[in-house]
Amino acid sequence: MKKLFIYLFLLCSSIIYAQYPVITTTSLSNPSQEDQHTNSGNYAMDTENERQQFVGLWRYTTSDVLFEVKILKLDKLFSSTTPPSGFERKYSYMDGVVLTYKLVKNGVVLHDNLSTIFTNTNYHSWGYIEAPDDFLYGRIKDFTGSVTSVFTITNLNTIPNRILFDMSNMAYSLDNPRHTYIPSNNLFSIPTGGIEMIRIY
C-alpha cells in the first residue's frame, strides 16, 4: 500500500513537472535575484542550504501547554493559482520547509500531525528563507482554530539551540466561512506573539 502511494506521488509529480517545466532558476541566497524568484516558470533554489539550521523538532512547554513543531526541508515547492478564463496559468517553484506540529493543553492533545508527510504539490504549513533575511517566513495552519497565519522563525543560535517562533495574530486568514466560527472561542490555539522553542533533535 505504501509503495502504491509512492508510485502515485511520483506519477503526479512527473505529470506536474512535465506540464509546468522549470524555465529559469535563481538562488534564494542571492539578494540581487529577489525580484525574479516568483517569475512564472522560475525555480528559486536554496543553493546555500540556509534552511538546514531550522530542520528538526522544537519544543515549547509551560505548566499547561506542550507545543512541538517539526520542520523538514522540502525541495521545489510548487505554487500556482487558477487563472481567469482565457488566461495562462502562471507558476513557480521554491525550496522551502514544511511544518507539522503537536499541541497539548492541560493534558489534552488538541492536534498532532507530526507524522504527516507533505509533498511539494500538497502542503499547507510552509516557509522559506531568502537573503538578506536570516529568518524563515511562511504560513502555518492552526487546525483547532481553523485559521492560517503568517509566522517567522528566527534561529537564536544559542546553546542549547533555540528558535523564536512568532505566529502573527493579525496577518491571518480564516480557513472556513466566518459564520461557522463560534463567538468567544479562541481563534488561535497555537501560541502567538513570539515564543522561544528549544531544539529536541
Binding site: 524568484h37 481567469p84 478564463s85 504560513r139 503568517v150 502573527s168 493579525m170 466566518r178 468567544s184
Partner: protein, 458 residues
Amino acid sequence: MRKNNIIRLIIFGIVLMLFGCSEDLFDDISQKNKRDYKIKEVSISELSLNQGFTKAYSKISKSNFEIQISTTNKTQIENDYGFTIIDEPAKVIEYDNKTSYSLLIKTDSTQTNEIKNLVIEVDSLNESTNFIITYKLDESSENHINTNEQIVIEEIAFDPNTNISSRYNSDCMDVIVIYCSDASKYCGGADTQHGCYRRTTTICSASGASDFGASENVLTSPVDINHGHGGGGESLEESLITPCDDLTSKDSNAEFSTKMTELKTKASNQNFESAFTMYQNASLGLLFSNEQVGNPNDLYTGGQVELNINNDILSTPYNSVGFIHCHLDNGSTFGVFSFSDILGFSQLAGYSTRPVVEFGLYVTSASGTFAIKIKNKIAFKNYFNVMNGTQSHFETEFAKHVKKTDDVNKQKKGFLKFLKENNLENMLDLYEKDTITNIWEKLTLNTNGTQIVEEPCN
C-alpha cells in the same frame, strides 16, 4: 456589410433628463474637473436665442427655412420628424472646435424605459450633423447602460447633401457618445457625483449606399475602444471620469477626508483594525457605514476588521463602492493591502451596480495611504469565486511576494508583482498618496519588474 473606410466622427450626446439635475445654468463642469471639454446647461428659451444653434436647427427643417424653437408651440421640425422637445435644460458641449446641443425629446413611440435626445453637432465650418439618440435603460441594472445595443443612433438630415455619407463618402462611421449616469436617472454631465462614460458604436447604411435615413440605419457590432482583455460590456466603456479624478474627488469630500485622517490616527494607537464601507447614493452622494472594528478581546473575530456591507434604505450592496480601513503601525499587519482585502473588494464589486470608476479600496497606516481601483469590474467580480474557493493558494502566492516583515517599498513591489503573477494586474491598479504633495500616484512595475514606476495623477 461593414466596410473598412470608417470615418471617425465625434458626437457629444449628453442626455438631459428628469428632475434633480443641476439647476445652475451655464454650470461648466469642465472647470471643476479640468477636462478637455466644456458642458453647459442652457434653458430651451435661451437656446432659441442662440444663433449658432438656431441656424443648425433650421437646416434639418423639411421646410428648409429658419425656425426658432418654442417652449409653447410645436415647431415645424417637430411636426416633420414626429418628436416633441421637452422643456428641460439642454446640454451644450464644446470640444475640439465643435459644439453639440443635446435636447430631451419625446415621440409617440418612446417607451417608459427609454430616453431620447435630439443631438445637433456643429463643427468649425458650421457644418452640422443631426442625430436622434435613444437610450434604452436597463431596469434590472438600476438604469445603467451596459451594452452598446442600448444606444440606438439615427441620423436625421432632410437634405441628402448634408448627411454624413455624402460629406465623408463613407458607408459607416464610428459615433462616440458621451453620457453621464447615476442609478436612478440620467442627467447630463453637470452632475459630477456620477460617472460619465464614452461609448463608441458604429452605424452603417443598410445598403451601403449614401443614405443614413432613420429607417435604414443599422447599428452594427460595438467597437472596443479600450482593446481590453475579457472585459465584456464594461470593457467597451471608457470612463470620462478617470480613476485619478475619482480619487481626487473623494479626497475633496469632507467626510471622506475626516474619516481617512481618523483611520490614520487609529492605525497608530489601536491594536485592531477599523473600517468604513462606502456607498454612493443617487441624491445624497457618498455615504459611509458606521465604524467597523476588529476586536482583539473577542478572539472569535480577532483583530482584523471584517468588511461588512449594509443593507438598509440608503446603503445597499448594490450601491456600495468600496472600503476605507486602517492597518496598524506596530508591524503586525501588512503595510499595503492583504489578500483578504482584495477578496472582500471583489465580493463587493460582485454585488454593486455602481459605475466602475467609483469603486475604491483604501488602506492607511504609517506605511502610507494606498488605494486600489478596479480596471475591469466584470473580470474582477467573476474571479471572486475562484479566489474565494482557492484562497489558500492565493495566500501562499501572496506570502511568497509580500512579507509583512519587509519595508513598505519592498512590500509595494511585492504587491505589484503578486498582481502581475496572479493575473490580477488586468483587473486592478494600485495607487499611493504622496505624503508630501498629497497627490495620488499610480504605481506600476517597470518591464523587468525591478523598479516601481510612479505616475502622478495630473
